[in-house]
Symmetry: C2
DNA sequence: CTGGTAAAACAACGCCCTGTCGGTTATCCA
DNA sequence: TGGATAACCGACAGGGCGTTGTTTTACCAG
């Protein structure tokens, strides 16, 4: 039986090698931009054969994308019920949750958001926000399509760049504190801080 | 005389080849991510010898960085007198000016900000904003260092992502209109739009 | 206009990564 | 335990890389 659909798990060996490959990439990306990392380097670091790599990924970038997709999915799960709304009270806990998740996977997130990553990860998240979080606002309010898009880009990018800085500085603030700051910035803007 | 300092202009030939190289890269980047563009491709497109390329740049990324630096400098010039402040009235015209400049060099900017570019360009601009625009605010106000950094990241990233979207959509709005939108978002936040 | 100079073209080099084989060995799991 | 599947191995041609030494071309100062 050919594993009815996809509910059967992957072969243990596959899981293991994929894990090794991914960890090796993250490791390497702490020091090198993705563009300077060869398939060969990854395989040596992961101690697997190069042909094995090609059995799973087409190249470094494909690998990186897959990793990003997984992270996006993980975040997706976190916010599957709760939603961003224009209300501050709902936003803070959701954000806090995401920040905690990011802190737990600090190395991974830092790498993905760093200049050693590529910008497509950010685009992924914008898309995520569009699909999941902000669509209801657009529906409920009478906001034209274009304007909404602008808001989404602005919100997600601003958000992410703060998180990136936070990770680079080794998470000096509590997730909840940061969540509050971000929320304030998002909904009240900069001027709030010059009160 | 070995060209007293650097005030003498570059050799005409040098200028020409550099121009050809740069235009070729921008051309290629409309279709390919920088990581998929080889030095050889660039040279063939620019119709110059490969060794000539290496006489000026170390690789594709070096070339891209140089281009980005130039753009940053150009923007720098635009805002050399005026400054971002927390006042809306001053911000709009400066932003408008920058947007007009971006629209004039649409292809270039779109490529630099797109996912085919690399994120270092964005980091450059954050740095620029830090040095030039926002430092006075930090000085005048009693805002601690860290908080300021967060604000700067947030502001620049949010700003840029909107501009990127605008360019991708082929500049459907007037520069000034967009400048007003951005300013509103920056200083009043999202909630302003759900009034 | 001309002669010295500097840049670009050319050709060739070894080097190393790339993708992709077919065949062998090791591991899984039903 | 045995059939299946994945990982390993070795090897292959191909091609981009970075550099070098030489020749040809273009510049521009005097």
């Amino acid at each position: 039986m050919n594993q009815t659909a996809n509910n059967k798990k992957e072969d243990r060996r596959v899981r293991l090698t994929k894990l090794a490959i991914r960890e090796s990439l993250i490791e390497l990306m702490q020091k090198n931009p993705i563009s300077k990392i060869s398939v060969k380097m990854i395989c040596e670091a992961a101690d697997i054969n190069r042909s094995t790599f090609y059995a799973h990924y087409t190249d470094q970038y494909d690998l990186l994308n897959k990793i990003q997709q997984e992270v996006v999915s993980a975040i997706m799960v976190q916010i599957f019920v709760k939603e961003f709304t224009q209300e501050t009270e709902a936003t803070v806990p959701v954000l806090t949750q995401i920040l905690e998740y990011a802190e737990e996977n600090k190395a991974l997130f830092r790498v993905l958001l760093s200049e050693n990553g590529d910008s497509s990860f950010q685009d992924e998240l914008v898309l995520l926000a569009q699909q999941k979080s902000l669509q209801e606002i657009r529906e409920r309010k009478h906001l034209n399509e274009n304007m909404s898009r602008y808001l989404e880009c602005f919100a997600v990018s601003g958000c992410l760049s703060i998180i990136r800085k936070w990770l680079d500085d080794d998470c000096p603030d509590e997730p909840e504190k940061l969540a509050e700051l971000i929320t304030k910035l998002l909904f009240q803007g900069i001027s709030w801080f010059y009160r």
